[in-house]
């Protein structure tokens, strides 16, 4: 079936709620209205307010109570309306959710999948556009996922719900509706920890995910016109990352460009560059390049200058190839 990313996520939630009655959805406005972006639309009608719960306005309370539900044996899937609003829950996520299994010697575990839209390009401005993945990748105990297309969105969300560990599931809101594609009916998973080579190339490895994958692909097409053949990898799972896929590609190309919306400094791109250094230094023929959001807050009027769009990625690909 042809679905957009929102519909694919909705399909995954519906399927899993039918299959596993421990699964519950909670958050602000996720019920009758189906969430700000309608990802939970129709679930309230099918599963009732006992399993699709509109909560008070407290992200800390949403995640904190979800942890308790998970301890009891449910599988809560809280929605944070925008990733920009996840910080009031940051303490519960990093101090409690991430550490529950470890601090209890493996006796207790809190299986929670936190869904949140990320990224800019929708004129959301400073507080409706952020991409905070690095702030969770740095915290041991969490898995971090970000799909780029409807097929992966459904398969990765199903895999995330069934994975035994807590998952931060970030959804690229800029392509919520723009990204359409064929999505298999029924049950399937896209395994966590496996990247996808979405464009083969010989000259430069481009690492991207979420909405910026499309910019990376467009940039690769542009670069091809200049005779530079970029290989583009969609990481899909950000952590634990598919290091083999990255290293295999870099061994071939000797060059790497990382693209992400989050600010450059201490972003996930830095970790990817450091990992490539550790695992493939002798193969590197050019300095790994980062094309990222700038080290400023996310702007409103100037968001298209802030985002690492194809026009900024192309020169990085070409210069890295020609270094």
């Amino acid at each position: 079936m042809q679905l957009n990313l929102v519909q694919a996520l909705n399909d995954a939630l519906r399927l899993e709620m039918r299959r596993d009655d421990r699964v519950v959805v909670l958050g602000e406005d996720v019920g009758k209205v189906g969430g700000v972006f309608r990802v939970t639309q129709g679930l309230w009608d099918e599963f009732g307010e006992g399993r699709v719960v509109d909560t008070p306005l407290s992200e800390g309370g949403i995640v904190g109570t979800a942890i308790g539900m998970a301890l009891y044996g449910l599988v809560p899937i809280p929605e944070i309306q925008f990733a920009d609003f996840i910080y009031p829950a940051y303490d519960q996520i990093v101090s409690e959710l991430a550490k529950m299994r470890w601090r209890s010697g493996g006796e207790y575990a809190a299986k929670v999948v936190i869904r949140a839209p990320v990224g800019g390009g929708i004129r959301g401005g400073l507080y409706h556009s952020q991409s905070p993945e690095a702030l969770f990748i740095h915290v041991a105990g969490l898995k971090v996922v970000c799909p780029s297309n409807p097929h992966d969105a459904k398969g990765l969300l199903l895999a995330s719900i069934r994975d035994p560990d807590p998952v931060l599931f970030f959804e690229p809101k800029r392509v919520y509706r723009a990204a359409k594609g064929d999505v298999p009916e029924g049950d399937y998973v896209v395994p966590l920890g496996k990247a996808a080579v979405v464009r083969e190339g010989t000259d430069v490895t481009v690492l991207a995910w979420g909405a910026m994958l499309y910019e990376a692909m467009a940039a690769a097409e542009e670069a091809a016109k200049e005779g530079v053949h970029a290989e583009v990898i969609d990481l899909r799972t950000l952590w634990p990352v598919d290091i083999d896929a990255i290293v295999d590609s870099v061994k071939k190309t000797g060059r790497v460009v990382v693209v992400h919306e989050a600010p450059k400094t201490c972003g996930f791109g830095a970790e990817l560059v450091a990992l490539v250094n550790e695992k493939a230094f002798v193969h590197l023929e050019a300095p790994p390049a980062r094309v990222c959001g700038f080290d400023t807050p996310f702007p409103y009027a100037l968001e298209m200058d802030y985002l690492p769009l194809a026009r900024r990625i192309v020169p990085a690909i070409v210069e890295t190839a020609r270094f």
């Binding site: 509109d54 009031p88 959301g124 080290d295 807050p297 409103y300």
Partner: protein, 337 residues
């Protein structure tokens, strides 16, 4: 939802004031309150239209809540600080922010005091101490307490007014802010606009308490409810809270019940005709003045919007300013790359 004491009301439907609760209200002030509510609504309606066209984003309409917003700020002193939430553009207008400043903010132009960095609402206006707030619900509450606490530390007669919706009472910042206010006796007035809804969540599901004013009890603060569609009642309630704050009696949580929460038809609850009847009853208003006011207001709003629509967007390089007081090396490199 019922609150412990019935909400304070002053304006009667016939336009007269309940003498038991009526504050002193000069002709000038009565007219100014009315005119600002009308201005606020006209601006609001225009921006709602622009949002439908996609010209602006994320505007939060204050329709029906003008009396709470204008009445509260009017009760404060000029030197007091004002912390808006998402719907209080009218408070900045009352404090003297020009319409053009609001319009340039809404469009995020190069003339915007905020340099087009934050989506339209809410605006700030530094020269009149209207604070810059984020779009995270509740975070400004503890800032207002900090300002008031600092003023008290300095023994300066400055208070803070902070607005928020009833949904914000669930935030950790509401809890921390009011608790710190109770302990420090900071001179702060908390105005909770209870319009009955937090997006799709009814107030009855936001909390199980009997209304919101009663939450003051948990912090040793004074709490009271007021008819938020009654601009004179809001003026009286916030004025009294301001007086107590200055007297060292600490903060007050004022729950202003508006919109659906008021439980009367939006017709009957509409603050503008209610105040107009008062002006008429006092012989301060006429059909002609009403016509002139509407004409002036739509002309002013139209002019401001037109100016902003014509204004240039901010230059790319400006994005790198103000992250720090001085642009550091790494940002200069990113700017100049």
């Amino acid at each position: 939802m019922k609150t412990l004491a019935p909400p304070l009301a002053v304006l009667r439907d016939d336009g007269s004031l309940d003498p038991a609760n009526a504050p002193p209200l000069s002709e000038e002030l009565a007219i100014a309150l009315y005119e600002h509510m009308v201005l606020a609504r006209a601006l609001d309606a225009r921006v709602v239209g622009l949002q439908r066209e996609g010209a602006v984003t994320q505007h939060a309409s204050a329709l029906g809540e003008e009396a709470t917003i204008v009445g509260a700020v009017a009760a404060m002193k000029d030197e007091d600080w004002v912390f808006p939430s998402s719907r209080e553009a009218a408070a900045a207008l009352w404090r003297g922010m020009p319409l053009s400043a609001y319009a340039n903010h809404a469009f995020g132009t190069s003339r915007d005091a905020g340099k087009g960095r934050v989506a339209p609402d809410p605006p700030f206006w530094k020269e009149a101490r209207v604070a810059s707030v984020s779009q995270l619900v509740g975070t400004q509450i503890s800032h207002a307490v900090g300002v008031a606490w600092a003023a008290r530390m300095r023994s300066e007669d400055v208070a803070a007014l902070v607005y928020f919706g009833e949904g914000a009472t669930s935030s950790g910042d509401f809890h921390a802010g009011l608790n710190f206010a109770g302990v420090t006796r900071a001179p702060v007035v908390f105005v909770c606009r209870n319009n009955g809804w937090a997006t799709s969540l009814p107030a009855s599901r936001q909390t199980a308490s009997a209304g919101f004013a009663v939450k003051a009890v948990a912090y040793g603060l004074r709490g009271m409810a007021v008819d938020g569609g009654d601009v004179v009642a809001v003026l009286a309630a916030v004025g009294e809270a301001r007086r107590r704050a200055a007297a060292g009696e600490g903060g007050t949580l004022v729950e202003a019940i508006v919109g659906d929460a008021a439980g009367r038809g939006s017709e009957a609850a509409d603050p503008i005709p209610r105040m107009r009847r008062h002006l008429q009853a006092r012989g301060l208003w006429s059909a002609e003045r009403e016509r002139d006011l509407n004409a002036d207001v739509s002309a002013d709003v139209g002019a401001a919007i037109a100016e902003a629509e014509g204004a240039a967007p901010p230059a790319r390089a400006t994005m790198f300013d103000d992250v720090y007081a001085v642009v550091p090396r790494h940002l200069a490199e990113q700017r100049d790359a």
